[in-house]
Symmetry: C3
Subunit: 113 residues, 3 copies
């Protein structure tokens, strides 16, 4: 049940966002037991976002998940996400942040896990 939220200041066309969504659906398999079957993805293109004070292409990604995952899995996912966004949206890897948020409380279908 991860939620991957991508915000970028790049004005990406729908087709690019759709492609990113598709690839993120595979990338999430870096987390043990996770797959696109449980994944929520949001992409905000053309966001009002600055990094280091500049409006050059950048992305802020938040990965929220129930419970947690091993450090190596997060490393792997960060690497995959960065590669996907860098490739599709033409963002330099050193202008992409990936932030992880673990939580013990997560609801689905009207009740909590």
């Amino acid at each position: 049940m991860p939620f991957i939220h991508v915000r970028t200041n790049v004005e990406a066309p729908d087709i690019a966002c759709e492609l990113a969504k598709q690839r993120l659906g595979h990338a999430v398999e870096a987390l043990p037991g996770k797959s696109e079957a449980w994944l929520m993805v949001e992409i905000d293109p053309a966001a009002y976002l600055w990094f280091q004070g500049s409006y050059e292409p950048a992305a802020m990604v938040t990965v929220s998940l129930y419970g947690g995952a091993p450090e190596e899995a997060y490393d792997d996912l960060t690497s995959r996400i960065t590669e996907i966004l860098s490739g599709i949206f033409q963002i330099e890897p050193d202008r992409i942040y990936v932030q992880y948020q673990e939580t013990p409380h997560w609801g689905w279908n009207g009740r909590n896990f």
Copy 2:
């Protein structure tokens, strides 16, 4: 001082969002000591959001709060939120996630609690 953030890919009219906001103001009473008097609500309709790879109606809800609340209170709130969003935006309950984020640091009126 909770913050309830609703994102949905449904293109809901203003009146539906207003109604959802109103009902969430009551729903938050599921958390001990909380009420609309301290509630911040954001609704993002027409968000670029996918669940299970599909663009069918879905919603991602984040509930942020200072401190925490008992497990049963979260269960109750998840149930209420799901019912509200399902009813107003016509989203299947099994396409609605509710994520909880507790934090010990929260500022209001220029200083932290």
Copy 3:
């Protein structure tokens, strides 16, 4: 590597957002070792946001950071952020929330810290 995310229901012009971004770049120095050189800022003006059930000017700010900072630093930052947003967007300080999210997992440039 903080990320400051500002959402407000005020329909602020670009120039006001740019100014807020600039000032937040200085304000973040309230956190030890942080500066604009590592700061990501997002501003969402004209968000669909209510506080206390009302649509009067309000703002919800989320500060995400790797690791943590002393309580006093957060107090100082809350005070600075509130002053900036209140001054630029004409929002009453008692209608501004600042929420802090610490996380031990943060990726940059394709790998985690």
